[in-house]
Every structure is written in C-alpha cells, then in structure tokens.
C-alpha cells in the first residue's frame, strides 16, 4: 500500500481557501470546525507565503501517542484516524499535534470539548460500512474507498496542495523546484515525516 501524504507547495498557494471550502462541503463539517485551514506567514511583507494545513497523518503520530484512551489507529494507507466512540474529549491531541489539526465541537470550559474531529484524508472512520450514511454522519466522506483522493487537493486551482503517495507527490514537487529554480521547502514534512524533499 502507498504511504499517503499531503504536500503544500507554498510557492503556488494563492490563499484562495478553496481547499477549506471543499473540505467543509465534502465532509459536512459543523460550524466552527476547520479540518483544513490556510495560514499566511509574513503577510504583506517580502517572503509572504501561504500554506494550506490539515492533519499531516504523521509517522508515529503524536496525537495517537498521547491519547489517554488509545482511540487512534492507522490505516493501510498510513492515514491516521480515530474513533469518536472512544474519544473522551480531553484535548491532549491538540497539545501534542504539531499542526493544530484536532478540532473540538464545543468551547473547552470544564472539560466539555466534545468528541474530537480532524481531517480523515477523506477516509471516513470506524463507524458503519465504507461510504455508508452512518459513517458520513460521524466522520464525513470516504472518497478513498471510492478510489479518490481528498477533495481539498483534488480541486486545488494552482495544484499547490498535493495529496497521494508520498513518493509520487515528492517527485512532482522536485520537478517543479528544478524548473522554477527555488524551493520553499515542503512545509511540515520534517516534523511529520522526519524528511525533507531534497532537490
């Protein structure tokens, strides 16, 4: 099986937020929860870059390691998923996550965060059969079961956000860097996968 990854080419991202909108629509994400977001660094200054960020589906995922009830699991595609039936809403995954991916439906006072929600790489979750209404209601769409990649990357207008087998998207990025002559780095890869794309 492939090792699925996300890669955001910061030199291409135009901060259109279409990935955020696509994610919200594809997964019917509730109000206040953003599985994906676009952060702009050096806004208005030289070297301004926008990066679309969601769960990076890390190697040795910090969220999974710190979860007190062990509710996380990794699929054959190396997508990090979790069970909302087991989640107790303690908020530890948010402290450990290097990318701020875990989201909670409630404001965290008195420990009432509700069940954590995060990017599933459009892979659904452990409730019901793949692609079932029950699964969609809890975790959102399961495009991977249909052989499709996450919608955020699929509809990125500048093809800044890439999803797919880590080897293949790294190769696409390498070719881009060679052609344009500069490299902003593959944001988050060092932290998530302990590697960078060498050109």
């Amino acid at each position: 099986m492939a090792r699925m990854k996300f890669l955001c080419d910061a030199d291409r991202c135009i901060e259109c937020n279409a990935c955020v909108t696509a994610c919200k629509n594809a997964n019917e994400v509730p109000w206040g929860i953003n599985r994906r977001r676009v952060v702009t660094i050096n806004d208005g200054k030289p070297g301004e870059r926008s990066v679309s960020m969601a769960c990076m589906h890390c190697n040795d995922a910090p969220c999974a390691a710190v979860c007190p009830v062990d509710c996380f699991y990794t699929t054959a595609d190396h997508v990090v998923l979790h069970s909302k039936d087991l989640c107790i809403g303690c908020g530890y995954c948010f402290y450990a996550c290097p990318f701020g991916a875990p989201q909670y439906p409630k404001v965290g006072n008195f420990g009432s965060r509700g069940k954590m929600d995060k990017c599933t790489y459009c892979s659904g979750g452990p409730t019901g059969a793949d692609g079932s209404a029950a699964e969609f209601a809890v975790y959102g769409s399961n495009r991977m079961a249909e052989g499709k990649l996450p919608l955020c990357a699929e509809m990125c207008s500048t093809k800044s956000l890439l999803a797919g087998d880590g080897e293949i998207i790294a190769q696409i990025y390498r070719e881009r860097v060679l052609k344009r002559g500069y490299n902003s780095g593959s944001w988050g890869w060092q932290t998530a996968y302990q590697e960078t794309i060498n050109v």
């Binding site: 910061a10 030199d11 291409r12 937020n17 953003n34 977001r37 676009v38 952060v39 702009t40 660094i41 050096n42 806004d43 030289p46 070297g47 870059r49 926008s50 990066v51 960020m53 910090p62 390691a65 710190v66 979860c67 007190p68 009830v69 062990d70 509710c71 069970s83 039936d85 087991l86 989640c87 107790i88 809403g89 303690c90 908020g91 530890y92 948010f94 402290y95 450990a96 996550c97 290097p98 990318f99 701020g100 965290g108 006072n109 008195f110 420990g111 881009r176 052609k179 344009r180 002559g181 500069y182 490299n183 902003s184 780095g185 944001w187 988050g188 060092q190 932290t191």
Partner: protein, 339 residues
C-alpha cells in the same frame, strides 16, 4: 530628462531587445513579446526563498495570519508537540510508576519493620476533643475529592497501559469519561477545602523551634520517646504546607487546563500540563505517607479525624504541648454567659 521619460525609454528598449535577441538563434519562432527562455511555471526573479527551518529557528512556532476567528489556528507548525509526546509516552510513565509504587513499597517496608505504632500503656478512658465537626468536615471533603482526583489523574496518565488492556477499549473509554468529569467538577470542592484548611489551621502551622527539635528527634518514628509538639507536630506542619502549597498549585494549573488557551498558547498549555502532573505526583507521594500514618501506621491517630476525640495517652505522647494548653484552658474558670 525627467525620470518618467527615462523609464519609458528603458521599457521600450527592453521590449525591442527581447524579440531581437531571440530572432537570431531561433528564427523559426514566431515573433512574440513573451520570453521563451523563461520557465513557464511562473518564475519570479524577485522571489525570496522562505524556508520553514529558518522560520522555526526564529521562533519555536511558525505563526502567521489567518482569516478564521480562532487565533490558535494561526499557528502553522509547533514541533514541540513531539517533545511533549515523548515526555508523556516515556519519562512521565516511569516517573509515575517509580513515585507511586516506590512510595507504597517504602511504606510497606516501614510497616514490616516498625509495625503499628502503639499508644504507650494502651488506650485510657479519658479522651480529648482534637478536631471539631467542622474541621473534620473540611478535612474529609478535601480528602474524598482528592482521592477521586488522584485516581482519575493517574488514570489519564497511566490507565492506557494498565487498566485498558484488562477491561478493553469501550469500557475503559466510558470509565475515563466519567473520571474526567469527576476530575473537572471535584476540583472545586477540593479547592474550597484547601482554602478552608488554610484559614482554619494556618495559625497552628507556623514553623517554630519546637518543630526543629521534633525533626532532630526523628519525630518519634526512629527510636523511642516522643519529642514535644503543639497541636500539629513538625511532620503534620509539613503535610499542611504540602497540601496548601501543592493544592494551591494544582488549583491554579488545573484552572489553566480547564480553561485552555485563555491565558497562554499551545506551548504554555504543555508546560501547565507538565507542572500540574509534577505537583500532583509529589502530592500523591506525600499523601500516601499521610494516609499511612493516619490509619494503619499508628494506633489512635484515625480517631482525631473520625470521632474527633483522641485518647489522652496518645495526645500526651504526640502533642504534649497541645494537651498542656487544652488542660490549662479547661481548668481556667470559664466566664459565665450573661443570662
């Protein structure tokens, strides 16, 4: 010549020069104002390389601006999350096991050697009121909530590697949910209890020379004989200050965890969690000792918090100065109330 004029001329020259330069090596290409040698991927000669490693060197977090109303979402990368993970997964478990199990083993060993510390000459008939009903109430409110807080806290730290394999994921999640709510809500009676104990008992707990002598004599635990002590001996004063300062620290850091991100960012939340856990662990060790000596470790000690009336012989042995004070008070003629 004006500046504008110069710029216009330069621009015109450039426009003429580009097709001209290409006309010779590639005469077959149609005339165009587009630079054909430039990459078609949007090469920008003014572009600045922005690397995440440099951004991370500047700060522990890469933070930018975001259109969402949630300021936490503006943090793009915080690699320290991995450090916190490594602490929580490794050292925290070992430190917890060492402190809790080590303390229990130590107390077991102490009990095996010393046994229950008996009242010299056995229980007498006379008793003396040591703690009023209110004092006992505030002690037990604090103690009961503390026990649940400690158990639920230990469950969050180590339940996954101890209890979860025994009872399975579903049962463990249900249990942990209830323990989490208990932890959040019992924090308030615990805090109130600590504040009450501070107010009621602080005047008896100011360290003095008697305590120094008490500690020098080994508190009566080592060897025989009982060093003099007031209402609270040196060891009890230590317990009092551990509870007040430790409990206060737990309350403050606990509020920080209960209202996440109100006062700090994600890095601060990690620090608060580590501090909360550290204080809690130290307090668990101290309280195990306190529970031991207040129950199986010493004959007659539990009476003080149970009925409130302690054996006079016990009181004379452990709190000689306090007994003298109380007896002096009792023999002093009481002012008769106005009728």
């Amino acid at each position: 010549m004006s500046k504008l004029g110069m710029l216009t001329r330069l621009a015109l020259l450039a426009m003429l020069a580009i097709p001209a330069a290409h006309a010779q090596p590639a005469p077959a290409t149609p005339p165009s104002s587009v630079r054909l040698d430039a990459p078609t991927t949007g090469f920008d000669p003014d572009s600045v390389e922005v690397h995440q490693t440099e951004e991370l060197d500047k700060n522990r977090l890469v933070t930018g601006s975001i259109t969402l109303p949630d300021s936490r979402a503006a943090t793009l990368i915080q690699p320290d999350g991995r450090i916190w993970r490594d602490y929580r997964r490794g050292p925290l478990l070992w430190i917890t096991a060492a402190v809790v199990l080590g303390m229990i083993a130590l107390l077991g060993l102490f009990y095996a050697i010393k046994g229950e510390i008996k009242i010299d000459g056995g229980r007498g008939i006379a008793t003396l009121l040591r703690f009023s009903a209110f004092e006992r109430f505030m002690h037990w409110v604090t103690a009961a909530s503390w026990c649940i807080l400690a158990i639920s806290g230990l469950n969050i730290v180590a339940g996954r590697v101890t209890l979860l394999p025994l009872i399975g994921n579903d049962a463990f999640s249900t249990l942990s949910t209830w323990l989490k709510y208990s932890h959040n809500f019992l924090a308030f009676p615990f805090t109130m209890g600590v504040i009450l104990m501070l107010l009621v008992w602080v005047r008896h707990n100011i360290p003095n020379k008697v305590d120094v002598a008490w500690f020098k004599a080994g508190g009566g635990f080592i060897g025989h004989g009982h060093p003099p002590a007031g209402k609270f001996n040196g060891g009890q004063k230590a317990v009092f200050w551990i509870v007040v300062l430790g409990g206060g620290g737990l309350a403050v850091t606990g509020l920080g965890l209960m209202f996440p991100f109100y006062v700090t960012n994600v890095f601060g939340m990690q620090i608060i969690q580590v501090v909360h856990g550290g204080i809690a662990l130290a307090m668990i060790a101290a309280m195990l000792g306190h529970i031991y000596i207040g129950s199986v470790g010493m004959e007659g000690a539990l009476d003080a918090m149970n009925s409130g009336d302690v054996d006079l012989g016990w009181a004379k042995a452990h709190h000689s100065l306090w007994v003298e004070e109380e007896l002096a008070k009792a023999t002093r003629p009481q002012p008769s109330p106005a009728e």
